[in-house]
Symmetry: C2
């Protein structure tokens, strides 16, 4: 049985990964050669292979890093600006997406990676699915914590709009995609709040429909 060695993240390894992350995201996986990564990271191919074993290993590390960064970004963004279990926290996720996309203008790095890895047995593929599931589950969790009924279904629907907005914004040449998504999701949350308040019992939460911020 082969044991997969996790990369030892020395300072140079960090520099390599950060450089590769930018190049992979902005140019695609296959379009970027190992030699070029070495040059732009001010190191050598030797060191890259010493740290990451192969180009596929580096790609996997890139996806892992991007996944972790997105999760951390969204989580802190929402917790800082939408504290407390308001159902309108889901709009905070879309706000986080908007500011993320201002810097990451080439669409979803995971969808882009999927385009090049699908049909292979690449180790990065599970990470792609993991990221999509995490974001979906994050929406569901926010709704459930706010006492919204049918949080599963509603969260999945919001995630649908979320992913669609990224595609329309980048490949679809639709600059207003994110604000369209925000207003649509806003109405979906309204529906959820109405369903929650109508079901009685939890009327103590009714006041937070005023907490809808930023519109």
């Amino acid at each position: 049985m082969t044991t997969i060695t996790p990369p030892r993240m020395t300072p140079t390894a960090h520099r390599i990964l950060d450089t590769a992350a930018v190049l992979f995201y902005e140019n695609g996986l296959r379009a970027v050669g190992v030699e070029r990564i070495a040059e732009e990271a001010d190191t050598t191919k030797k060191t890259i292979y010493d740290r990451f074993g192969s180009k596929d290993g580096l790609i996997t590390a890139y996806l892992r890093q991007r996944c972790d960064r997105w999760h951390a970004y969204v989580t802190s963004y929402v917790e800082e600006r939408f504290p407390g279990p308001t159902p309108y926290r889901v709009l905070g996720v879309l706000d986080a997406l908007a500011s993320w996309m201002a810097v990451n203008s080439r669409g979803c790095g995971f969808v882009n990676a999927y385009a090049e890895l699908a049909g292979t047995d690449h180790q990065g593929l599970p990470i792609i699915a993991e990221e999509k599931e995490w974001t979906r589950d994050f929406y569901i969790r926010l709704l459930r914590e706010a006492g919204v009924p049918e949080a599963e279904r509603r969260g999945r629907e919001v995630a649908l709009v979320h992913e669609g907005a990224i595609v329309q914004l980048t490949a679809g040449a639709q600059p207003d995609a994110l604000s369209d998504a925000r207003s649509l999701v806003g109405r979906l949350v309204d529906d959820g709040v109405a369903a929650r308040d109508a079901s009685g019992g939890t009327v103590g939460w009714a006041h937070d429909s005023q907490a809808r911020a930023g519109e």
Copy 2:
């Protein structure tokens, strides 16, 4: 000024393009070499370059063909099964998408191509945007023809869900994405119909809310 020569579609050229379309879609653009296309199409590299000029020319032709095929598929699908200006024709587009995805299981070929072409000056990029705009405008047109108010906004929202469903279904490991999308869009259309009927004047159309099929 350079005149772009459109490919002369001889029988062999058709065979080449059909073969390349499958290979490009299922493996990605850069992952497929010209040599392999020649082999699987039972021809030679020479003929490929005689007909399409370059690999980029072949890629452009592939995107053009895929664009045209999708438009034709959706249009005929909707017109056959949802005749007349019913607002629920938009659900027919999602049905068309579902049966299209049953054969095209690797997601949106245009989003995938975008992942590999973005950041370049490739001639195929405008075709990608064109396809996204076409589908969006098709939704808008169907709603407007059915007398639904604010067809622009509603159509854009439906297109958001449409694109999101493809991503969730493939990269997102969410097998129910399309039925989620259908039920959500169903409710969006319900809203549009209610808004239309409430605005008076066009009450003569009220009966077609019964035309909602396939649920």
